[in-house]
Subunit: 340 residues, 2 copies
């Protein structure tokens, strides 16, 4: 659904002006009012209707527990999940565990079945045992986009095909003639992003290209982690023609390390990530990446949670989101001549 | 307080390994256990203690209502506020209004005095009247870092000196010899970031430098807004030697517009922002900016809210945070020769 900013942008006015038009403050010139009303119609912006239902108490609260609100994946997920929840007359509260499974567990105990009618858990490292211990509260808990999925857990899961994402990244670099490729693998609370690495390795293997351990760096999934790993790769393997990062945030860090050294992307080194966060589009050169479909994952996940709240007899469910897709931007190009 | 990632980084291991050490899983080599324990000691990471208190119910819930979780200022604020709250045995839930004052109002009605023992409100465009209407609930509401402060409102406020921030930005560019400067002013729910612009204008005025309306662009406070405004300024005023943005996010957008046109920062055009979000440090060239002290603002704001919860007889309070400070990085330099 459209935001006030989108309406303002389309109408060529400030958000304060849109707000004044919505409140009928009479401060706004008729011509401007018309422009704003046209923009509201064009964007489908809906003032007040949802909010009124929510304020009148025809609504419930659900919670989203996530590990690190500073990692831009999560705000993008929150934005979508909050809108979908609101359309179904639910408020969404967000609980940031600061990467601490113990805090995540404490949040679950505090809110599941009491403050929140259901909880969506993202990458927090909370164990299946902890989640199963809350089953008696009859408040559904859904896990989304976990790196490792254990189907025996009987907890509703929304599953992303991370292996396929790595495979797509590998195939793209191979097609461009890259053979000497460095890899930066992120590590979060659930362990390494191993599925992505395995998919990448499988793609290279199928083409007869080796991926020696020496060109793989395991780091924390942050800008700084990507930066430092790229520095190390560049120093020890100056013959690399491409770097694959298992997440965009690390690719952003790697791009800084390259920029600081005057290494051109993609002429000297190609760079590819996974996820397609907003920063991938915004950075220069814009990042080629394998899009996981944050919007789809968030929509499917929150809808599954709300379905389980509204239909508590629902069986535990595994939902697979559509496969990732390659998004080619300017950070990848042919392997530099003479390099292969 | 330290995160698991910071411990892992210092110990040179993955966060999964740190997690295993904390859980005594016996999977980890003794030498690694020692490295991790040293890193825990060095960082001051405190596992479990807080979480245990929280899980045992010796805790309360407070809420932070904010307009746009995708604007990186807010996640940085959340991270600090959540940690401070946790240290005082409070959970922090985050409510994203999606830039809609009506949704913000609905959240306030739903949570103030019921789900949450107090609410911190950030830039949501919720009116003082709406907030005063909730006074009977005896649940304190604190406004933080508003662009416009009306002291007559009698609502507790945490005030940032935005005028001074603009002034500092202006003085810095003047010192570097800039006289023809474009300005990009952001607009959020509370109207334009006018205080920042006025401070900037005052600095220029004091030095006898004019700031014609023609070089000022009013846009939404987003990456796209900054990008488009910079394109317009560059087309219509090729003689500019510097651009001042009232927020870092727009400066990031402006830097893309410059990069896309092969315009060098700072040799051809200097660029300065306000706030000092993480992206200001991460972008290349790194952004010179006027730091508002997100950590201080968040800490002071949440502490004021918790003080008011614990001492309800407390008088309405206005707290001024320390003045902003200039952070010089590589995006500003002397005005290009022959330009003045």
């Amino acid at each position: 659904m459209a935001t006030l900013s989108e309406v303002a942008r389309l109408a060529g006015v400030t958000t304060a002006t849109v707000s004044n038009v919505l409140r009928n403050t009479q401060k706004v010139k008729p011509a401007t009012v018309q422009k704003v009303q046209e923009a509201i119609a064009a964007t489908g912006y809906r003032p007040n209707l949802m909010a009124r239902a929510l304020a009148e108490g025809k609504s419930s609260m659900v919670a989203l527990v996530l590990p690190d609100i500073n990692n831009p994946f999560y705000p993008e997920f929150v934005r979508v999940a909050e809108r979908v929840a609101r359309h179904r007359n639910y408020f969404l509260m967000v609980c940031n565990t600061d990467e601490r499974p113990d805090i995540g567990r404490a949040y679950l105990h505090q809110i599941a079945g009491t403050l929140a009618d259901g909880v969506l858990v993202l990458h927090t490292g909370i164990s299946a045992d902890d989640i199963n211990a809350l089953k008696t509260r009859r408040s559904p808990i859904v896990l989304a986009s976990e790196e490792k999925v254990d189907l025996a857990d009987q907890i509703p899961h929304v599953v992303v095909n991370f292996h396929r994402a790595g495979e797509i990244a590998g195939q793209h670099l191979l097609t461009l003639g890259h053979r000497r490729i460095g890899v930066i693998v992120g590590c979060g609370l659930e362990g390494m992003q191993v599925g992505r690495l395995e998919g990448f390795r499988d793609a290279l293997h199928a083409a007869g290209v080796a991926l020696p351990d020496a060109v793989i760096r395991n780091v924390s999934d942050t800008v700084a982690g990507g930066h430092d790993a790229a520095v190390s790769l560049l120093e020890q393997h100056p013959d690399l023609t491409a770097i694959f990062c298992t997440n965009d945030l690390m690719a952003y860090g790697a791009s800084q390390a390259l920029a600081d050294r005057g290494i051109r992307i993609p002429q000297d080194i190609s760079l590819i990530g996974i996820t397609d966060i907003q920063l991938a589009k915004d950075m220069r050169p814009a990042l080629t990446t394998v899009a996981l479909g944050i919007e789809q994952v968030a929509t499917i996940s929150i809808n599954l949670l709300l379905d389980l709240i509204e239909n508590p007899t629902h069986e535990p469910t595994i939902v697979q989101v559509p496969d990732p897709v390659l998004v080619v931007r300017t950070s990848t190009g042919p392997a530099r001549s003479g390099a292969a």
